[in-house]
Symmetry: C2
Subunit: 287 residues, 2 copies
Amino acid sequence: MDTLETRELRYFVAVAEELHFGRAAERLGMAQPPLTRAIQQLERRLGVRLLERDRRGVSLTGAGEMLLHEGRAALDATTAAARRTRRAGDADGPGGPRNRLVLAVKAGASHELLHKLLDAYAAEPDAAVVEVLPSGTCEQEGMLRDGRADVALMHAPFNSLTGFDSQELMTEGQIAILPASHPLAAQKTLTLADVSDIPDLPLARWARHGTYPPGPGPEIHDQTQLAQLIALGRTVAVFPDSARAWLWAEHTAVPLTDAPPVVTHIAWPAHSRSLALAGLIRTATRL
Amino acid sequence: MDTLETRELRYFVAVAEELHFGRAAERLGMAQPPLTRAIQQLERRLGVRLLERDRRGVSLTGAGEMLLHEGRAALDATTAAARRTRRAGDADGPGGPRNRLVLAVKAGASHELLHKLLDAYAAEPDAAVVEVLPSGTCEQEGMLRDGRADVALMHAPFNSLTGFDSQELMTEGQIAILPASHPLAAQKTLTLADVSDIPDLPLARWARHGTYPPGPGPEIHDQTQLAQLIALGRTVAVFPDSARAWLWAEHTAVPLTDAPPVVTHIAWPAHSRSLALAGLIRTATRL
DNA sequence: GGCCTGTGATACCCGGCGGGTATCACACGT
DNA sequence: ACGTGTGATACCCGCCGGGTATCACAGGCC
């Protein structure tokens, strides 16, 4: 009567994202007519119009937008339930209850802190096996939400910590990484304004959630790619201080005086009750 | 293949809570055999044993406990999606987009703050209709999670704020409420130790999540009931300062010097994106 | 204006599976 | 030995989710 099935949610989210029944059906690996029928049935059961279909296109009503947001959250929660249950089953299954933890880390960030954390935790008695999962830019939130990861290292203010419990680990400044040959590389310090409009050196743009912010700079999705472009004198980038670890000889790092400090947190789903996780967090706070 | 249906989650949670297929089936309004089959199928699909059935009873495996926790969260998220979507539909349906907000408040707490908040918000332009939903002791968390409420007033340290965004509104001390006739009522201040072992005046016990903490005091689930028992000289209770508003003539309030301060927060689900909610929060922070 | 194209909606059929009833298998009380 | 209460099995049926074919309709052509 009033209990949404996850199948219905999956269908609706697909349609709401594509805004096109045909494409949504294809994405779902099914034909279009049953999809149409399923959405109609969903609307009847909820007693609410979710989509406005005026021939040539579909758009979301207010209720539709609500269901898109809430439905995504619900779907994430159920897939998280499935994933975490499977992993828990592996643990208490064969070979004794060897717990495992999946830690999501932005690829290539803060090696040093990560190393210290993993070493310190491994020395703990009863330490679980920590699997490090490299994640794309700002993707850790989704990974925690849908159960791909149990815990993550996040960098405020880039990551949003809303909805998670977290603990502050480290604060650092930011630096501009320039070609060593560029005149500005000789400065002792710079400001954001200095680096954001250098005529011959546009700021690189990172992909966030699959799309790129507008601007003149090159589109980047790989750190080595970026490093190369900087070395070639084609772009600048702004990074937390710990990025100095991977600088090349052709790079120069210059501190930014007015960039907001970057705070590294360890974050986890608020409702977690895992002992292994608690141990890792305890270790982290003692660093 | 790997996508849990909410029906399966409902079934499993019922069995895991009852630890008995027959009772669980009854609670679900179905017969026992299909329930058994559904759980078996669920275990097969997850590739994990969830229940240990040794004749005469059922118990949870580690994976089962995981699925119980995560599954509850997922079920809450889907029922929240349904409820919020229905409400959003009512709003953008007939009579113009009149938004509504449901505010969960512990029954009978902090009248004064609540009044100020509602009055101030009602004076805002484009204020939504705020529906006040009285909730049992410490039940606000569940109400936010499953969509019965959009926002809640919570009292740390009694309510757990994990998983929600929140804003501090007010801090107050705690008082002991005694029968006016009792000798201790003459004191200017008291300590927790003073009131926790008065031989003839055991501390009242409140129901939390349906169960009562152990102890000698009377079991309470209603505020007037408690007030009456105090007036009769049968018990003491500890409350935030604002409880003075409902004291009777037969009651005396004595400040507690060592009780932790009670902090009232306004809290909401971390992923909310409602404009009306944002307005209410903005108003609250200006009080 | 006729026609094609692309959209979502409808009509109809079929197979699978969710659910029910009856029964079994087994461990415990007496 | 037998009754009792547990979960598991066997079997059947009706519904509903999904597929194919088709419709209805609005634009954009020439």
